[in-house]
């Protein structure tokens, strides 16, 4: 009897799902036969049998299984699929001392009948000597977790381990015991889904309908290209901390506020970026107002509250104002102008750990800046490798409004400002 375990197919894969069993329980299989189609987080692949025998499916179609978990067994024809009690006479030390079978209760004790038998009679308790968990011989769990699982009636095969190397630890068992319904649902796949059609139709909110229309319009009508830069933000990070710690009113200053200020100053230097293409003509905007893409506090959607005249405000003002305008927008009671009049937008997904991404332009604006997470990486500084903090920013550009060289210079300016954050804290000028 050989276990078929959920294989690990990518670094990020934590569990996989059997899309389809190509064979049924009881079917004979040969080594190399495709027995299932398995879906990981990245792709779907064929799972081949590694031995000859009869298939015994453990995890049914559609149920996710963590990597390493047994999903099927392949046994000899006629072999009972369930665990057999360990034959007592198979314990080797006892066999060597037939006259005193009870003499060594500690070292040579056979596993209790509830424990899983191993195929080889010479290793009734597993080759590594580890006791096997009833019904799930390959589950890796701490002794404490095993004891708790027995006390609380938790099936360890249905528990995801959070310890080193996926080991099930105390907290996993306690969590499983507390949220008992979840593992039970997984273990009882015969329970059917709620009745009804396979596809549910959901009406979009008006906001969602608007977003859908405008994004499709932007993507189909705006000839767009992208420019990405990576900025060192060590100084900006430490300056932000300094501001938070020691400047009244700056306690909530964010990296986005730094970027609003940096973009506002750069837009003033490159007025062609602060422009629109309307009816075959350029519109140069005198005011510099920056939209901030944020998620609403409830439901799905997108809000773009605006910090107006950002180039005329210093960093602290921007910080206070952006927080207020975001709050008003999220509360559903925006002030007049809070959600309109932006000439440029910033979308920052850094807080979600995104490395970098490309945002869709919000017409009639000519550009939007997509900001990734600040990451600690080795950087080469004056010929030496040192730890540094970097952040990647991608500008999406309406190519009708301005061009590659301008985009590159604009991004170089944003990068220069964010890397020299002292330029962002000097007072705003007319």
């Amino acid at each position: 009897m050989a276990d078929v375990n959920m294989p690990k197919l990518s670094d990020t894969m934590e569990e996989g799902t059997i899309v389809e069993w190509k064979k049924k329980s009881g079917d004979p299989v040969k080594k190399g036969d495709v027995i299932a189609e398995v879906e990981s987080d990245k792709a779907t692949f064929d799972l081949e049998s590694e031995s000859d025998g009869v298939l015994d499916i453990i995890v049914p179609q559609g149920v996710p299984a963590k990597i390493g978990a047994p999903i099927a067994r392949i046994g000899a024809p006629g072999e009972a699929p369930a665990a057999k009690p360990a034959p007592k006479e198979a314990a080797p030390k006892e066999a060597a001392k037939p006259e005193k079978p009870k003499a060594e209760p500690e070292a040579a004790a056979p596993p209790p009948p509830s424990q899983q038998a191993r195929p080889s009679p010479s290793a009734p308790n597993g080759a590594d000597g580890a006791p096997r968990v009833a019904g799930s011989p390959e589950v890796k769990a701490s002794p404490l977790a095993k004891r708790l699982a027995a006390e609380l009636g938790v099936n360890l095969a249905m528990v995801q381990g959070s310890g080193p190397e996926g080991r099930i630890v105390k907290e996993d068992v306690q969590a499983a015991a507390a949220g008992r319904t979840a593992p039970q649902r997984a273990s009882a796949p015969t329970i059917s889904r709620p009745s009804g059609p396979d596809v549910e139709v959901v009406e979009p909110t008006r906001m969602q309908a608007t977003i859908a229309r405008r994004m499709a319009e932007a993507k189909t009508t705006v000839p767009e290209f992208n420019v990405t830069v990576e900025a060192r933000v060590d100084l900006a990070v430490s300056m932000r901390q300094q501001l938070k710690d020691s400047v009244p009113g700056a306690d909530k200053v964010t990296m986005t506020d730094f970027l609003v200020r940096a973009c506002a100053l750069s837009l003033r230097k490159f007025p062609e970026v602060n422009s629109s293409w309307v009816d075959g003509r350029f519109q140069r905007k005198r005011r510099i107002s920056i939209g901030l893409a944020v998620a609403p506090s409830q439901g799905m959607g997108l809000l773009v509250p605006v910090v107006h005249d950002a180039d005329l405000k210093d960093l602290i003002q921007i910080s206070i104002e952006s927080r207020q305008v975001i709050e008003r927008a999220r509360s559903g009671r925006p002030a007049e102008g809070d959600l309109s009049g932006a000439t440029f937008s910033i979308s920052n997904l850094g807080m979600y750990g995104v490395d970098e991404f490309v945002a869709i332009i919000n017409p009639p604006e000519a550009a939007i800046l997509a900001v990734g997470a600040i990451k600690e990486v080795p950087v080469v500084d004056a010929g030496r490798i040192v730890p540094g903090k970097v952040m990647r920013m991608t500008l999406s550009v309406d190519h009708r409004v301005f061009y590659g060289a301008t985009a590159a210079q604009f991004m170089a300016e944003v990068k220069r400002l964010i890397e020299n954050p002292v330029t962002l804290v000097v007072p705003a000028t007319q």
Binding site: P143, A145, R147, K170
Partner: protein, 331 residues
């Protein structure tokens, strides 16, 4: 009023007080009289108690220990100072085959109330031959009591207990602890042999430290607090016998255990503790018991290499994070 004293001063007080209290107590060792001891523990005692009771011995450890055993069998209470634990190897036969066994082999009619004080440990560029932590060589032997105090209070209290015990005691000091300062109670007190000390209570992991490593474990535990890891620290203090109850009680509570010694962990004191904890706490363990010891090399003379060969509080923190299942911190 209890006051702060150096570890070496606490030891000196214990010796002097016991010599005052009991005329059968005498000191013997190399350079302990006129020179005051290689680590200045016996300074001033020759003047105070005379050459009969503070005996400067030739460089002959086997003879020193052998004569001490003989005198102990005949009713004296010798306190031997070996300059370092490294030189005790010369006297190992006397200690293992005579000191540890005589009381058994003579059916209890002779006993060996002897203390051997000796510092061990590395960190002073004394290189391969003079940097040992040999707790395990003595912890191994039935018939010996083996202790390793880490605070001035324990140094004094346990030395007094050792001197009053009718069995041979290996009193393991640490070169790196002689200048440690700590509160020492006033007056005559003893600290029992065979008792561990819980230095810090915690809920996430039990760190058992041997000798100086208990001090480092305590430092590490204080720093781990900032990472939201609440470590319990147990100072083993007594290597033979091992005081299991507080260790078991602690591990059953924390479900995790890390054991640290300065010497080699393979076949080490930590191996013994780890095995014993596993036997007694198996169903309570939420993670494998981890051991930390010195690098498996003869101690290098090079300072950076020597530092790299001795466990540090950072090493303890790193392993503690692993035991509690935390990812290593960035940077």
């Amino acid at each position: 009023m209890a006051e702060e004293k150096l570890y070496r001063v606490a030891l000196r007080e214990a010796l002097a007080e016991e010599m005052e209290r009991d005329e059968s107590v005498y000191l013997v060792g190399e350079d302990i009289g006129k020179f005051g001891g290689a680590y200045r523990v016996t300074e001033g005692l020759l003047d105070r108690f005379g050459a009969q009771r503070v005996v400067d011995a030739p460089i002959a450890e086997e003879a020193i220990v052998g004569s001490a055993i003989g005198s102990a069998m005949l009713g004296l209470r010798p306190v031997v100072e070996l300059m370092t634990i490294n030189f005790s190897l010369v006297a190992y036969d006397q200690i293992v085959n005579n000191a540890a066994k005589i009381r058994y082999m003579f059916g209890g009619e002779a006993k060996v109330p002897m203390v051997i004080r000796m510092p061990g440990g590395a960190g002073h560029q004394l290189s391969a031959q003079h940097s040992h932590s040999f707790e395990v060589l003595y912890g191994l032997i039935p018939g010996l009591l083996v202790v390793a105090p880490t605070t001035p209070e324990d140094a004094k209290g346990m030395l007094k207990s050792a001197i009053r015990t009718d069995n041979p005691v290996m009193f393991l000091e640490s070169m790196s602890l002689y200048n440690v300062r700590g509160v020492v109670p006033e007056g005559d007190y003893t600290t029992p042999i065979g008792k561990a000390a819980v230095r810090r209570t915690g809920t996430d992991v039990t760190i058992v430290g041997v000798s100086r490593m208990a001090v480092l474990a305590h430092e590490a535990a204080k720093q781990l607090e900032e990472e939201d890891i609440d470590a319990e620290v147990i100072d083993l203090r007594s290597i033979r016998p091992i005081d299991w109850p507080p260790i078991i009680e602690s591990v059953r509570r924390t479900s995790r255990c890390l054991v640290v010694e300065e010497g080699w962990a393979t076949y080490g004191v930590t191996a013994e503790i780890a095995a014993g904890v596993q036997e007694r706490c198996f169903d309570y363990l939420d993670a494998p018991i981890r051991r930390l010891g010195g690098a498996q090399v003869p101690m290098p003379y090079s300072l950076p290499l020597e530092k790299a060969s001795i466990p540090t509080s950072e090493d303890i923190k790193k392993l503690a994070r692993e035991v509690v299942g935390r990812k290593p911190l960035d940077g």
